[in-house]
Structures are given as C-alpha cells and as structure tokens.
C-alpha cells in the first residue's frame, strides 16, 4: 500500500455514508412535509366552506340572483307565471351543476384537495382578474407583482439594515446608540398598519407630500419613467410604515443574538490570540450564526407571499392581501384555497431546503439524522 492512498478510502466511505444518510433524511422530511401540506390544505378547504355550510348560503344567493334576472328581463314579461318559475328552476339547476352543489360536500372537498395539491387552481366562482380572466391562476398572478414590490422592498430593507446595524452595535454595546435602540425596541409592539395611519395623517393630509393610498396615479401617467416615479411615490409611505414597525425590534433581537455569540469562549480565545476584529466577526461570529440568519431570511421571503391584509387595506394597495380579503368577502373558495395552497407549498419547499442546508452547514444535524 502506498502511503498516499491510505486516507482516501475512509474519506470516500465517509462521503458515501453522509450522502446516503442525507438522501434518507431528505426523503423522510419530504414525506412528512407533503403530509403536512395535505392536512393543512384540507383544513383550509374545510374552514373556507364552513364544513359545507357555505353551500346553503350560495344556493340561496343563486336562487335570488337568478330570480331577479328573470323577473327584470323584458323578454320574459308576458310569460305565464308557471313557465317563468320553471325557467328560474332550470337556470338555478344550471348554476348548481356548474358549481357541483348537488354533490355532497365531503366528495367535493376531496376533489378540491386533489386539484389543489396538483396545483390545478381552477376557475374562480365570482371574481375575475382585471383583464377579465376567470382563472384563479391569472387572478393571483395579476396581484403578485404589487405585493412582491411593496413587501420585498420593505422587508429586504429591514433585514439587511437590521443585520448590519446589529453587527455594528454588538461591537460597542452600552454606547448611546445602542441604548437608544434598546429604548426604542418596544415601539414595535404596534403593527405596521398602525404607523401607516399616522404616516397618512402627517404626510398625506397635514403636509401633503405623498398620496394617501393606491399604487399609481389615476389615470396612470404615460411613459415608463413617469409610471415608475408615480409608483415610487405611492410606495414611500407603506414602505416607511413597515420599516418603522419592525426595524427597532429587528435590530434589537439581532444585536442580542450576536452579543450572545460574541461572548462565547472560542470568540474570547480568538481575541486573546490577537486576531483582527474583522476576521473575528466573519469567522467566529457570522459563521456559526449563519444558519439562523439564513432561516430568518428564508422565512421572511415566504412571508412576502401572503402580503399583509390590513396594511394593504389601509393603503389601498392592490396586492394579495386585498385579494384574499375580497375573496373571503365574496365567499369565492377557489381563490381563497388557491392562495393558501401556494403559500403552503412555498413554505414546505423552503422548510425542506432549509433542512437540507442545515444538514450541509451543520454537521450535528447530519449525525442526528443518522441515528
């Protein structure tokens, strides 16, 4: 045996073992997550239909709208009463067939479930997109950019600013800046919409610098640049509201987190060794805290999906939150289920990716999965 080839085999065997356990672990997690999504989505379907009671409401609604239509139509004015009633019945039946209300709810709910799981979102019952499409997919996709733009901007700002500021603060804790942030942290007890109301009051009414709501001027300005400028002006207040609502608590918790990790023995050791503070920060503080940072970043990204119903309502922002609120108001279950399903999938995929990432980043997880 050559001396050089000696260590190669154990390494390869170690890698092979790691890969196998990682695959096994991933498969188990995948199955568990799939079941989770299945149950979660079914529960949503059940709640959105009130366990089938919404059907009765819908039936009453259909009957009254169809009756109105037929009675208001001049073409049927001279029709005898019986014939007209028969016509109404026919039309109600058509609508019932369309919505499959004659089947028992349990059957339909299972049907909804398998469609939802296959991401076949189907057609909305009442709502339609601005372009007139009845497809749930189109309706959701139409609102997606608005939500992503607003919440993406605000959350990315909050995330990066808070991590960077927190790192800086954790280096000189006890300074006036640090104490100011601690004192301000309780201000985040109020949600973003709350600050939104104040911002609207101040910057839209007292000092009218920014519009009070909406996404673009009405009518929308011509030209891409003017359009973008208008959107930016409309975004200013909601972004600021979200920023104020979470920046201080965010800085505070990251700062505490970094402080706890920077008082670990191995960091002290590095300091004693005389390493530069930049090196200590990168290798001794950021490296072991990487996985929580990535986790919270990923969870923040998925959080974008659902938008925020109330903030969007307060600022009249045409995003997914508003859409969900309208869908609930219209009892349009396909739209409700559609947005929850996509959220569930995104969450499950992110959790799965995080699991794998942990297994790669953190050797302890691998060992645990092996056992």
């Amino acid at each position: 045996m050559l001396p050089g080839s000696q260590p190669a085999t154990p390494v390869r065997r170690g890698l092979w073992r790691d890969l196998r356990s990682l695959t096994l672990f991933s498969l188990k997690r995948l199955l568990a997550l799939f079941l989770t999504v299945l149950v979660g989505v079914y529960l949503t379907i059940y709640i959105a239909n009130m366990g089938g009671q919404v059907d009765e409401l819908r039936l009453v609604q259909i009957r009254s709208t169809v009756g109105e239509e037929v009675r208001a139509d001049p073409a049927f004015f001279d029709m005898p009463a019986e014939e007209r009633n028969a016509l109404i019945e026919d039309r109600v039946q058509l609508e019932v067939d369309r919505l499959r209300l004659d089947q028992p709810f349990i059957l339909r709910s299972v049907d909804y479930l398998q469609q939802a799981i296959r991401l076949d979102l189907g057609r909305a019952e009442q709502m339609h997109s601005d372009t007139g499409s009845r497809q749930v997919y189109d309706i959701i996709v139409e609102r997606l950019p608005a939500t992503l733009l607003l919440f993406g901007t605000a959350n990315l700002l909050v995330f990066f600013i808070s991590v960077i500021v927190a790192l800086a603060l954790s280096r000189r804790y006890g300074s006036p800046m640090d104490r100011a942030v601690i004192a301000l942290a309780p201000s985040s007890a109020a949600p973003a919409w709350f600050y939104g109301i104040f911002l609207i009051l101040i910057f839209a009414f007292l000092v009218p610098l920014f519009p009070a709501g909406g996404m673009v001027q009405v009518p929308p300005p011509e030209g891409t640049l003017a359009y973008a400028a208008s959107v930016l002006r409309h975004m200013a207040l909601p972004v600021l509201a979200m920023f104020l609502g979470s920046i201080f608590i965010s800085i505070y918790s990251w700062r505490t987190f970094f402080l706890i990790h920077s008082s670990e023995d191995y960091v002290e050791m590095a300091r004693v060794k005389g390493l530069s503070s930049g090196l200590i920060q990168r290798r001794y503080i950021l490296r072991p805290t990487l996985s929580p940072i990535i986790t919270s970043f990923a969870l923040m990204l998925i959080g974008l999906w659902s938008g925020a119903i109330i903030l969007e309502q307060v600022f009249n922002w045409p995003g997914l939150g508003t859409l969900l609120f309208q869908a609930i108001g219209h009892r349009d279950t396909p739209v409700i289920i559609g947005s929850v399903v996509i959220f569930a999938y995104l969450l499950a995929i992110t959790v799965f990716l995080l699991d794998i990432l942990y297994a790669v980043l953190d050797p302890r997880v691998r060992m645990e999965a092996n056992r």
Partner: protein
C-alpha cells in the same frame, strides 16, 4: 423558587422602562376598573347602539381641550329647555295660545354646527299649530314658518331648504350672522331667541319645546358621526382590550406549554404527533382564517378569542419550549419524583412546567399587546364585535367616514394613542423582564 420571583421583582425596579411600563399598565387597569363601575356593561352596549339617546349631542364635534389648547373658542352645545324659559299663556274659547321664548347668549366667534328644535305635544284630537320666528340681538325677526305638531317632532332647522334659499346661507349660519356679511359671515354675538307661538285647540293640551344649538366641541373625547360620545368607546375599549389580550395570551401560552411538556414527557408517537400538528398549524395563515370565521360564522369577540386560542395551541412556540424542556426531563429531581411514584400529570404540571415559567414570563407579557392589536386589526377590517364598543371599531368608523380627509384627527388619534399606550406599557415591561429573568442577557 419564590425567592427568585421576589428577587426578580426587586431587580425590575432598577430598570426605568419597567417602572414606566408598570405605571402605564396600572393606569390602564385603574381606568378599566373605573369604567366597569361607572358605566355598567349593559348600559355601555345600549349607549353604543346609538339612536335617540344621543339626539342632543353634536355630530363630529372635536374634544374641547384640543380647541382650547389651540387658542380657539369653538362653541359648545347649548340646550335651551322650554320648561326653563319664559312662557306666556293666554286661554281662549276651547283652547289656549302659548308663547315660548327660547333665548340664549351666543358669544363664540364660530357658528354652531346645527340647529334642531324638539317639540313634544300631548293632545287628544286636534294637533296644535306652531309658528316659529328667530329674534336676533339687533332686533331683526326672521320667520321660520309654521307647522302642525303631531307628537314628538324634530324640526331640523338646519335642513330647511326654503329658509336656506331665503337667507342665502345655511340656516345655522345665516340666522346667527351679522346682516350683509354674505361672503364672509360673521357671528352676531348677543342674545338670540327662537320664539315658538303655539295655538292649542284643546283645554288640556300641552306643548313643550327644546332648542338644541349644537356646538363644534364636546367633552374630553368629542363625538362621532352618529352623535355618540367617543368617551364611551374609549373607556370601554380599555377593559375589553386588556381582557382580550390577557385571555388570549394566557390561553395560548398555557395550552402550548402543557402540550409541549406532555410531548416531551411521553416522547415517542405523542411527541411526533404534536410536532406534525405544529407543522400543519404553521401552514395555516392566522389572519385569513380569522377573517373567514368573521365573515362566515360570527364576529363576536368571544368566538374570535376562541379561534385565536385554538390556532395558538400548536403554535411555533412549541418547538422552543420543547428545546427548553428536553434537558429538564433528564434532570435528577424529575427522576426522584418518578421514584417516589408521582403520576404523569403531576410530573408535567408540578415538576416540568414551573421550571421554565420564569423564562416564559417576558414572552407572555410581550404577547399581550400583539393580541390587543390583533383585535384592533380585525375591527379595522370591519370584523369587530357587532355590539361592543372597542378602540378598533372607533378607528374603523373613522376610516369609513374618511375622518382624516375631513380633518377629524381626534377620531383616529385618541383610540390610536390608547392602543399605543397599551402596547408600549406591556412591551416596556416585557423587555425589562426579559433581561431580569434571562440571566444570559442581563450583563449585555
């Protein structure tokens, strides 16, 4: 254990934010207790339903102190009661003539917001007839026309289109203005009077008249679009918000804790089931479900509370508690308890949970405002409790009536300030508690 608690409390006093927070909470609790005794629950609901109770209150009047601080002299409401005004009565064959002079001093430089005359006639057969005229301080007399009184009548002088055309101004401005100041009306200060000349066609018929000169300011809190005094909602909002926040926080924390401890203690499939349920629950979005429950089932605050607690049972907190409880399960004192024959429930409730309670206190305190704001959020979406006066509902009314656009800032700011105080009080206390009970943070 109790030593640790009292020691913790003693340490709290060294944090100014904790003292301020406790002060705020004490203030809110005191206000709640006072409210519950001053305005009993059923009376508060009655008042908040609105209607005739509030007919003598102005619409959208701002708080008095706001105006006075700004150096204004906006008028308060004046109710001129006929029973305390000079009345001349002159009987005739089969009836009576009556003259009621409803006089009042007006010295504000701003006009009132509305004028209403309330007539109350009691008769057997024939309705009395009244003729109304307005007497200004400079001796002008403006006729407001005549009418029959059919019982309890409201004469909305401000909505008299004929009069408005004659005066060229809205009646509550035109009647009190100096003559010939059409473009820029100026109040004529002095003693104005509304004279009611009535002819009663029966011997024992009676007629009462009350004039309401609605002001532009009212009380400490102002009024809303339905003339309701906002004070009722602001005061009653306090106990409701505190109760909702506290119950929701207690409900979710305690149940979550017990379930986490149960899972850790039994391990195996129980733990696995609890873990999976938690993961399912994380997928369910809380607010949309609450909105669904609100639109489809009921908007009662207690149903909402139930749903919040139900969805909070398997919350993400379970994962955290589990991590804290796992080492405790192996602790020698738990083993000792097992050895002397303690049951499962006893070990979970008396040995495991008390051990991590101190760590949870801060989380618990900071959780309260979250639920207070959740209730307000639901109300802002129009899903507030249909009968209860809450801060969120006041803000929802304000939003619906475009209060900010119309400049009724007090309508939004007062409930918002109370919400903020509640949030700050609990958050400041919670943050200080966190540093006291989590020794790892104390030296930072």
């Amino acid at each position: 254990m109790s030593g640790r608690w009292s020691q913790g409390l003693a340490q709290l006093r060294r944090y100014p934010s904790a003292v301020v927070g406790m002060g705020l909470i004490a203030l809110l609790v005191a206000l709640s207790i006072y409210t519950v005794f001053a305005i009993p629950y059923s009376q508060a609901l009655d008042l908040w339903r609105g209607g005739e109770t509030w007919r003598m209150h102005p619409v959208n009047a701002r708080p008095v102190w706001v105006d006075r601080l700004a150096g204004g002299d906006l008028p308060r409401s004046q109710i001129i009661s006929g029973s305390r005004s000079p009345v001349e009565s002159e009987p005739f064959e089969g009836g009576r003539q009556k003259r009621i002079e409803l006089a009042f001093d007006y010295d504000s430089s701003a006009f009132p917001s509305e004028l209403n005359l309330f007539l109350d006639a009691r008769f057997a057969e024939r309705e009395p007839f009244v003729r109304l005229s307005w007497h200004t301080p400079d001796g002008r007399e403006i006729h407001l026309g005549g009418r029959r009184v059919t019982g309890k009548d409201r004469v909305s002088i401000s909505q008299d289109w004929n009069l408005e055309r004659r005066l060229g101004l809205v009646p509550h401005v035109g009647l009190l203005a100096e003559p010939d100041t059409m473009e820029n009306p100026v109040v004529q200060a002095g003693r104005h009077a509304l004279v009611v000349e009535a002819v009663l066609f029966e011997e024992d018929a009676a007629l009462d008249a009350d004039l309401a000169v609605y002001g532009r300011v009212h009380g400490l809190a102002g009024t809303d679009h339905q003339r309701r005094d906002l004070m009722v909602a602001l005061m009653w909002g306090t106990p409701i918000a505190l109760a909702f926040g506290l119950l929701a926080a207690v409900g979710t924390t305690i149940t979550t804790l017990i379930i986490a401890a149960t899972g850790v203690w039994f391990g195996g499939w129980v733990d696995a089931v609890i873990q999976r349920l938690t993961e399912v629950n994380i997928i369910l979005p809380l607010l949309p479900i609450l909105v669904m429950v609100g639109t489809l089932y009921s908007t009662s605050i207690w149903v909402m509370l139930g749903v919040v607690i139900a969805l909070g049972i398997f919350s993400a907190g379970i994962k955290m508690y589990r991590a804290m409880l796992l080492p405790i399960r192996e602790a020698p004192y738990v083993e000792a308890a097992r050895a002397y024959g303690a049951g499962h429930a006893r070990i979970i409730l008396r040995y495991m949970i008390p051990r991590i309670l101190p760590v949870l206190i801060p989380t618990f305190v900071t959780l309260i405002p979250t639920f207070v704001f959740l209730e307000a959020s639901l109300a802002l979406l129009g899903l507030g409790d249909p009968v209860l006066p809450t801060w969120g509902k006041v803000m929802n009314d304000a939003q619906a009536q475009s209060a900010l656009y119309h400049g009724f800032y007090y309508w939004v700011l007062a409930p918002a300030a109370l919400l903020m105080l509640t949030g700050l009080g609990f958050a400041m206390l919670g943050f200080a508690l966190d540093r006291v009970f989590n020794p790892r943070l104390r030296n930072l």
